[in-house]
Symmetry: C4
Subunit: 209 residues, 4 copies
């Protein structure tokens, strides 16, 4: 019986990790690429430049939110990958789709930055975050099922990973729903969630979200 | 007799792997860079934005196809590199040409996305995939011939790698030929092949392609 | 008691290092992306091309300055990360914010390159450098406080890291103040500081800055 | 006596290698970013698209030449770094300047691609290659002088590295001089040199260049 390519391909956790770090690094740095300097012809003095910069300020908040979002998903993916004993091609496939959605984030972000008061832009942004969470969840479930994770992993640990995704996605969904009031409320709420996850309090009710 | 630079240069498999991961990560993330937000002046309400996004939808499928293509070739190259005991400058040269063709993928992809009904755009896209397969095949043959691969590698394994490239390239060629009917048939067929390779069934006839 | 996700996430120094290297590499290479070739329609001979290139020359100095700035902060961050025994999510959060500010450098740089005689452009550039120093300082203080650094680290070493940030930031602030005379003085002064830090003398008063 | 920051900073060969791989990967992939798809409004049929692609063909040769150039310098730098026992801040500074010049290559390349018959564009391209060789040479000399290289390195090996840089730079200078005849001769000659270095013959006179 011949060797089956599918049994020997895509087994390196290390390689998947390196590719993921690369895709995240590029996506994070490209976010801001959209932040263009004002046209030189439109600026005739320090005051004009000041006004142009002030107009860019809300965009920078949006970029910060997306950067933190990417950072949080990077932590989430790495936490999973760090506990994989090995890979197979299915988990590689799932993570490739996850990375594809990561590569869409600069687009979703610049769409929301350009159309900050449009609900559709906000919902597309949220849909992007939702798919990221869903693929990460599916990847973890598959990895548990296919016994790709390290043997010493406790059931508690595995449950904590699933729970975190569910809690976070619930909060994002609440944020998205707030666009019924105003997209600014949505953005403010999601930004607060991200700041909480990135630099969270060490104790109190939020520390266990 | 003096030391020969060519005998000491380009011998690190690890370095070639790291460079390759980097080129893949950048190319994968740049694919979507072409996905521009609609001009703000053309959008006067949620409905306009919805229409603009709907127009972008087929492009996203093309990007997904290219992302999966890059992912599959990344798996293919890494499967080879993981089994190299060492490198020499010829294999480094072959893989540099492979990486050059990887860096052309965002161009081929955006050409096809822009001219989705043109056979020429589809054939250029296919030619890009074909050269990728050909350099990977040549690299493997050279590595076997120059005994760069690890000693414990079975002949079965080596044959499986060659066979996979040949089967995949045959399927891509069939996809390209379908452009005689319509370029949409070609794209649909190639997309199905890629989805099969990325997240393939675990058993049944397709599992051994 | 359930496992707490926050205690298991973001603990790999190696991953944070890899992501940081990636963000720095992309930001460094994107700096120059703004350096556009002259429009072909405006060039009718070697002389026109020469004039167009001469006009780009001051920009190249600005890019070199920013490249060295990124390089110096890369050395500064790596010097810290190399001495971390492990990470926690707070230090990961602080470094994500640091990396966000790194990703803003191509924007600050291209703003200053386009508006080289505007004080506001210079002050924004300086503010970017200041936040980088401040987050790096905060990260180090937190790491010492939370005992993330390796045990064998001497108090001298820890003090040297803090002192370097303070001295460098003082010099940058002096450079920024020089814009009261002229922004060119500021740029010249900061460029000298960066060249000193990048390829500093091995002895003499400057060697201990 | 206080610890001197300069003695503890920038000592990791591994980190410098990772940053370099990243800068090279981004620069290599950005080269081709300049290769734009034809404007959709100008294309009315397969024939128009064919003509537009034919016009792009010489550019692709220029990109291939630059990709190989970057690949060859990557091999050259890695060959040096692989034999470093440790780094100091001066060698890090020299390599940062080397990487800055690498990040200029996409600009030099796109300048030459746009003004392929202009001697000035060719000379700027050559100057970029020359500075790369000069910094690599200076870095090696400094590393030997400061005893950063591994102890087991033979004098033969060290001489081979210097000799390679000198021979290659002589060939590039000959190529640049050929622009007195025609820039196309220069490009053709340099392309042949690069192909020789990338996939060189295993014996015969060229194998020892």
């Amino acid at each position: 019986m011949r060797a089956n390519y599918n049994q020997i391909a895509g087994q390196s956790v290390e390689r998947l990790t390196a590719l993921s770090d690369g895709v995240f690094a590029v996506a994070m740095t490209l976010l801001v690429l959209d932040l263009r300097t004002p046209a030189e012809t439109a600026i005739h003095g320090e005051r004009d430049l000041w006004n142009a910069i002030v107009l860019l300020a809300p965009r920078i908040l949006v970029y910060l939110m997306s950067f933190l979002t990417l950072g949080i998903f990077w932590v989430g993916q790495q936490t999973q990958l760090n506990h994989f004993a090995h890979c197979d091609r299915h988990i590689t496939g799932i993570h490739l789709i996850f990375l594809f959605c990561i590569s869409l984030m600069p687009f979703s972000t610049s769409l929301m930055a350009a159309f900050i008061s449009y609900r559709l832009a906000l919902l597309i942004y949220w849909a992007n975050i939702f798919i990221l969470g869903a693929t990460l969840f599916a990847g973890w479930r598959y990895a548990m099922h296919a016994q790709l994770v390290k043997k010493e992993l406790s059931a508690d640990f595995a449950a904590a990973i699933e729970q975190r995704i569910i809690v976070a996605q619930t909060l994002y969904a609440v944020g998205a729903l707030l666009c019924l009031v105003s997209t600014y409320w949505s953005i403010g709420f999601i930004l607060l969630v991200q700041v909480n996850y990135a630099i969270a309090p060490r104790s109190g009710p939020l520390s266990r979200l």
